[in-house]
């Protein structure tokens, strides 16, 4: 187990180097120079001033050299400063990361809240109307664009009901937990509903597989109540693979937060990212890409390791 975890960690190094390098080169390849935008702000459009700016941000060096220097800084937790606002990226991330994480975790919570009961009932009552409704719901949820639901909800909200309207001012969770949750639950629900489709399908198939096992037949034969069989015997085993799908969905969650944050004016990573892309703010774009890539890579490893903790039959070597 330790050996396996160690080997996976070693394999992660080339992956992360590759990911950061791809991101770094992509950012440099963005059209329209950040220097042009910046120089325009200062009214200094002449070539000499631009050259000086370029030197200041060391954008005139070889890309590989820039990459190595940047990587060195990242390893010391120095994500640099925004070229546009000159604020340290890390400060900004510290403010915004909790917001996006709250949105993401709430979304995953809602997704499981919807998906698990529907998936389990769908499996237990296989090929009944309940199952057909559950399965259609799952495929339907996969097809609904989250931003559309959000838009329609906002337009309805302002006419028919009062919740679900994008807040005028964002309330921090640490300042006013209730007010914050009142604001976050609806965007999180929309995001979570989008995620729940695949979890539902996965839960159903995992549950069906377990329900065919011998020990479940034994439980029936012993005369246990259905409730006990489903909850105590079948669910425990069926939900283990569901952990995987939740882990694998993390990139989707992050992508979803970008869209939902834009619509609901939530000051998280996603909105920060969109404005950074529009302003060609290299350090910010790089930092967010690397951060999310790190989360994805570590979540994948975490899921694999958690899997063997939850299911003693799985042993990695």
């Amino acid at each position: 187990m330790q050996r396996y975890a160690f080997r996976r960690l070693i394999l992660m190094v080339p992956t992360l180097l590759g990911v950061t390098f791809v991101v770094f080169v992509m950012v440099r390849a963005m059209p329209g120079d950040v220097i042009d935008l910046l120089a325009g702000d200062f009214g200094a459009a002449d070539a000499e001033a631009k050259e000086a700016l370029r030197k200041e941000f060391s954008l005139d060096d070889n890309v590989v050299l820039q990459y190595v220097r940047w990587l060195g800084n990242i390893l010391r937790f120095d994500f640099g400063s925004s070229i546009i606002s000159d604020r340290p990226v890390l400060d900004e991330l510290q403010n915004r990361l909790p917001v996006t994480m709250e949105l993401g975790l709430l979304a995953i919570f809602f997704s499981l809240l919807i998906a698990l009961p529907v998936g389990i009932i769908s499996a237990v009552r296989q090929d009944t109307p309940a199952d057909y409704i559950g399965r259609s719901l799952a495929i339907g949820l996969l097809a609904v664009p989250g931003f559309w639901v959000a838009l329609v909800a906002i337009s309805m909200a302002s006419v028919y009901f009062t919740w679900g309207v994008p807040p005028k001012n964002y309330v921090k969770f640490t300042d006013d937990p209730i007010g914050n949750l009142k604001m976050m639950w609806f965007p999180a629900l929309i995001l979570g509903a989008g995620l729940s489709g695949s979890v539902m399908r996965f839960t159903r198939s995992a549950m069906l597989e377990v329900l065919r096992q011998d020990y479940i037949r034994t439980a029936w034969a012993k005369g246990l109540r259905e409730r006990a069989i489903i909850v105590r015997h079948a669910m425990r085993n069926a939900l283990i693979p569901v952990v995987t799908i939740v882990g694998l969905q993390l990139p989707v969650v992050v992508g979803g937060t970008v869209i939902i944050e834009t619509i609901y004016s939530i000051p998280g990573i996603g909105r920060y990212y969109i404005s950074a892309v529009n302003q060609h703010d290299y350090p910010v774009i790089q930092a967010i890409n690397v951060l999310v890539a790190l989360v994805v890579v570590f979540a994948n490893l975490g899921v694999d390791l958690l899997y063997s903790v939850l299911d003693p039959r799985i042993r990695y070597s």
């Binding site: 394999l11 080339p14 992956t15 992360l16 590759g18 990911v19 791809v22 991101v23 992509m26 950012v27 390849a29 963005m30 059209p31 329209g32 296989q126 495929i139 339907g140 996969l142 097809a143 609904v144 664009p145 931003f147 559309w148 639901v149 838009l151 329609v152 906002i154 337009s155 309805m156 302002s158 006419v159 399908r201 159903r204 198939s205 069906l208 990139p251 989707v252 992050v254 992508g255 979803g256 970008v258 869209i259 834009t262 990212y273 969109i274 892309v277 774009i285 967010i288 890409n289 999310v292 890539a293 989360v295 994805v296 890579v297 994948n300």
Partner: protein, 313 residues
């Protein structure tokens, strides 16, 4: 008495064992046994027809509107109403089908081709080639989804507008499709690699190798038909997600540019008016939903018919 070669030929090289011919019968069964999948297929055909010949469905111009008719609700003249410029929303949805369908199909064409080649060769040959490809795939699947796609799409705008020698909107569609296709292919190549490694264990592959079939022949005559179901099912479901990603990109402003009609774009263009005129949001959203739903239903049914081993039940 039959020679060894004849016996081997009988078992290993009979055309029906190579797999393609059983698909024709499956497709006919499909319509009968999978009504929802067939509904999906019918809707997809309708969309393809819309993409090829939008003139058959509407005579209105999607890009030019009557200003005096702006922001009207659905009526006999404007089935789905009009937007803030007085453009016919029904016509814009019909023309928007082209953007969605073309991007969906192109993405899947690019990604299936790359994924199949990468997956089959990586799985079949193994060794250092496999290790190298798998590390590349690791990098590809660790790139942060939509966040990275936004970066790529922005980067692509720096090529001159006639870089590929297409119309302005065709240019953007092509770039988005190729970029998305390459990114998507890496993940699905791993699935195909798995299927290839499983197919390689078959005895008839061994038999083919014994009678001296070259690698090239084994890969394309014996392995490919075996993993074909995996490729096809993956593709039909990927079209749906490609269309969703395109509409999200267009919604955020990184997709096709105006005046080209795109369902995702229609939702942003009219964002300010949606509160008072809900029809502006309802119809483009329904178009996206029904399209993705149809592709998913079709893909699901296809999987049940083509490859019972993949069935999720």
């Amino acid at each position: 008495m039959a020679s060894d070669a004849q016996i081997l030929e009988q078992y290993a090289l009979r055309p029906e064992l190579s797999g393609f011919s059983r698909y024709r019968r499956s497709v006919l069964n499909f319509l009968r046994k999978k009504p929802l999948g067939a509904f999906g297929a019918a809707f997809i055909l309708l969309l393809i027809l819309m993409a090829i010949a939008p003139g058959l469905f509407t005579s209105a111009n999607p890009d030019v509107g009557q200003v005096r008719d702006r922001l009207q609700g659905p009526s006999a003249e404007y089935w789905f109403g009009t937007d803030q410029f007085g453009r016919d929303i029904y016509a814009r949805i019909v023309y928007g089908a082209r953007t969605s369908i073309v991007i969906g199909i192109l993405v899947v064409a690019v990604s299936s081709t790359i994924a199949t080649l990468l997956g089959i060769f990586s799985g079949y040959f193994g060794g250092w080639f496999d290790i190298l490809v798998q590390r590349l795939v690791d990098i590809g699947i660790s790139l942060p989804g939509l966040i990275f796609i936004i970066l790529v799409v922005t980067t692509l705008t720096q090529f001159p507008p006639d870089f590929l020698g297409l119309s302005p909107s065709g240019e953007v569609v092509m770039r988005i499709s190729v970029a998305l296709g390459v990114l998507v292919s890496l993940g699905s190549s791993r699935v195909i690699r798995g299927a290839t490694i499983a197919a390689k264990q078959n005895q008839y592959i061994e038999a083919a190798r014994v009678i001296g079939a070259p690698d090239f022949r084994i890969v394309f005559v014996h392995i490919l038909p075996n993993v074909f179901a995996v490729v096809l099912v993956g593709a039909s479901i990927q079209i749906g997600s490609a269309i969703l990603i395109e509409s999200s990109l267009s919604f955020l402003g990184y997709g096709v540019q105006p005046p080209t009609a795109s369902w995702g774009r229609m939702l942003t263009e009219n964002r300010e008016q949606i509160t008072r005129h809900p029809h502006l949001a309802i119809f483009p959203g329904l178009a996206i939903f029904l399209t993705v739903y149809s592709f998913n239903m079709f893909g699901d049914a296809l999987r049940d018919v083509l490859d019972p081993r993949l069935r999720t039940r």
